[in-house]
């Protein structure tokens, strides 16, 4: 029994521990601080170790670890602990209209950070996973436990909302809105 445990431990080291740097970066971004990120990552790896007998060797360990990390984070923040990625469609309703919002001409790091922080958490997480961490749509779908089509549509909304948030905070003359693409309902209603 203990020989099997040792072998399992070696497999765990080989398959899972190589992703520590990447997951540490993601956890820190997700939590907003290095200490909280490290704690989240340790708990994630403990959960992964406890469930490692269910992990099928040869499948995508990276996506599996992201999935555990997101579940653990969700449980820790007591938000939707059992529901991996439910979207509040009322809040996201407006964003659905904004998928074609143009990107402002002038972008600053501060404006991008502020716009990103204003995104609803479920969009923020997805943009972080795909546009920053570079997960494929399929890996993101696996990590979030949703169909790939759902990832694509939510990502579209998240990216669109990010552009709208950026446009809110830059001079109107510097947005690509001049190029004739769709504006938000709010902007169109402005006198």
């Amino acid at each position: 029994m203990f020989g099997i445990s040792h072998q399992r431990r070696e497999e765990f080291d080989r398959a899972a521990l190589v992703h520590v740097p990447e997951l540490l970066r993601f956890a820190t971004r997700l939590c907003g601080s290095a200490d909280a990120g490290e704690d989240l990552l340790q708990e994630t790896y403990l959960q992964a170790w406890r469930s490692f007998h269910r992990f099928a060797a040869g499948t995508n360990c990276r996506a599996w670890l992201y999935k555990i990390l997101l579940f653990t984070h969700s449980a820790q923040t007591r938000k939707r602990a059992r529901q991996p990625f439910l979207v509040d469609f009322d809040a996201a309703g407006e964003a659905a209209l904004l998928v074609d919002a143009p990107t402002p001409d002038v972008l600053t790091a501060e404006a991008v950070k502020a716009a990103f922080d204003r995104l609803p958490e479920h969009f923020r997480t997805l943009v972080l996973l795909v546009d920053v961490e570079g997960l494929t749509y399929r890996e993101a779908a696996e990590a979030l436990n949703v169909p790939i089509g759902t990832v694509m549509s939510r990502l579209n909304r998240g990216r669109g909302l990010l552009r709208v948030e950026l446009a809110r905070n830059v001079p109107e003359s510097s947005t690509g809105a001049r190029n004739g693409m769709i504006l938000s309902a709010e902007r169109r209603a402005r006198p």
Binding site: F2, F12, V20, L46, D100, T108, D131, M181
Partner: protein, 266 residues
């Protein structure tokens, strides 16, 4: 594939994520090579993507990563040792439960075939002796085995008209009886002694053995009367065709056999 501006902007981010099919990818490239507005929007989105990574960049150097990896390794090792301890304790607990259960089962099991086996061996062995058989101490000494070598000496070679005609070890159905064959008054009796290895005697009506505190179980198998006594380590069975004459002679034989057994148990 020809794409218009609206279509290109819808798939522009997927283009940047390299998630488009080859055909759609070519459609985007072809469109932006001819459309300045969309080419500009593509550049802005590339810039936004780069700024996003730059802004959210978290410095994770090798030292940090190694330290966290070490911390995780130690936590996993603690978890693993804890699981192993729990598994060991579980195995010990399971073993103890099994031992207690086995002891309980052994202490409560009943030797259901005790009476019928003694009656069957009586038929198979004692009743085959010829009427002319007489006791031969040398034959008995040769055929008895420890600890029963002296059973006849203690039980006595005669009880009234009843005489011991033979004694031997008598293996029967996995049992190892010491078998004393007694004859008198026109019938043959068998006195069997065996170690108590198969559990308690089955319940039957009992009487108290005269001069002793032991219960005498009385029952009938195959038409033969059986009186049985259980001591701490041994079982005694007296099998007869009919009650002895006088009736308490059977008790005399049993009592003397109990005396022999008590000597073994000291």
């Amino acid at each position: 594939m020809n794409l218009d501006c609206q279509q290109v902007r819808e798939v522009m981010d997927s283009y940047l994520s390299e998630e488009l099919s080859v055909e759609t990818n070519h459609g985007v490239l072809h469109h932006v090579s001819e459309c300045r507005d969309c080419a500009a929007e593509l550049k802005r989105r590339q810039r936004l993507r780069a700024l996003l990574s730059e802004t959210l960049d978290v410095a994770v150097n090798d030292v940090n990563a190694d330290r966290v990896r070490m911390r995780i390794t130690q936590a996993v090792d603690r978890e693993r040792r804890s699981s192993q301890r729990i598994a060991r304790l579980g195995a010990i607990a399971a073993t103890l439960v099994a031992i207690v259960a086995a002891a309980y089962w052994a202490g409560n099991r009943v030797d259901a075939a005790a009476y019928s086996d003694s009656a069957e061996d009586h038929v198979a062995c004692a009743l085959t002796y010829s009427s002319s058989t007489v006791y031969d101490p040398d034959r008995a000494a040769h055929n008895l085995a420890p600890p029963f070598e002296h059973i006849v000496d203690v039980v006595g070679r005669s009880h009234g008209v009843y005489q011991v005609i033979d004694a031997h070890m008598c293996p029967f159905k996995g049992r190892n009886y010491a078998h004393v064959v007694i004859r008198g008054n026109g019938q043959t009796l068998s006195l069997f002694a065996e170690r108590a290895e198969r559990g308690a005697l089955p319940d039957t009506p009992t009487t108290v053995l005269a001069g002793d505190a032991l219960d005498v179980h009385a029952t009938t198998r195959l038409g033969y009367g059986i009186s049985a006594v259980a001591t701490r380590d041994y079982r005694l069975f007296l099998v007869s065709e009919r009650p002895t004459d006088p009736p308490d002679l059977a008790q005399d034989i049993l009592r003397s056999a109990v005396r022999f057994i008590r000597g073994l148990e000291k």
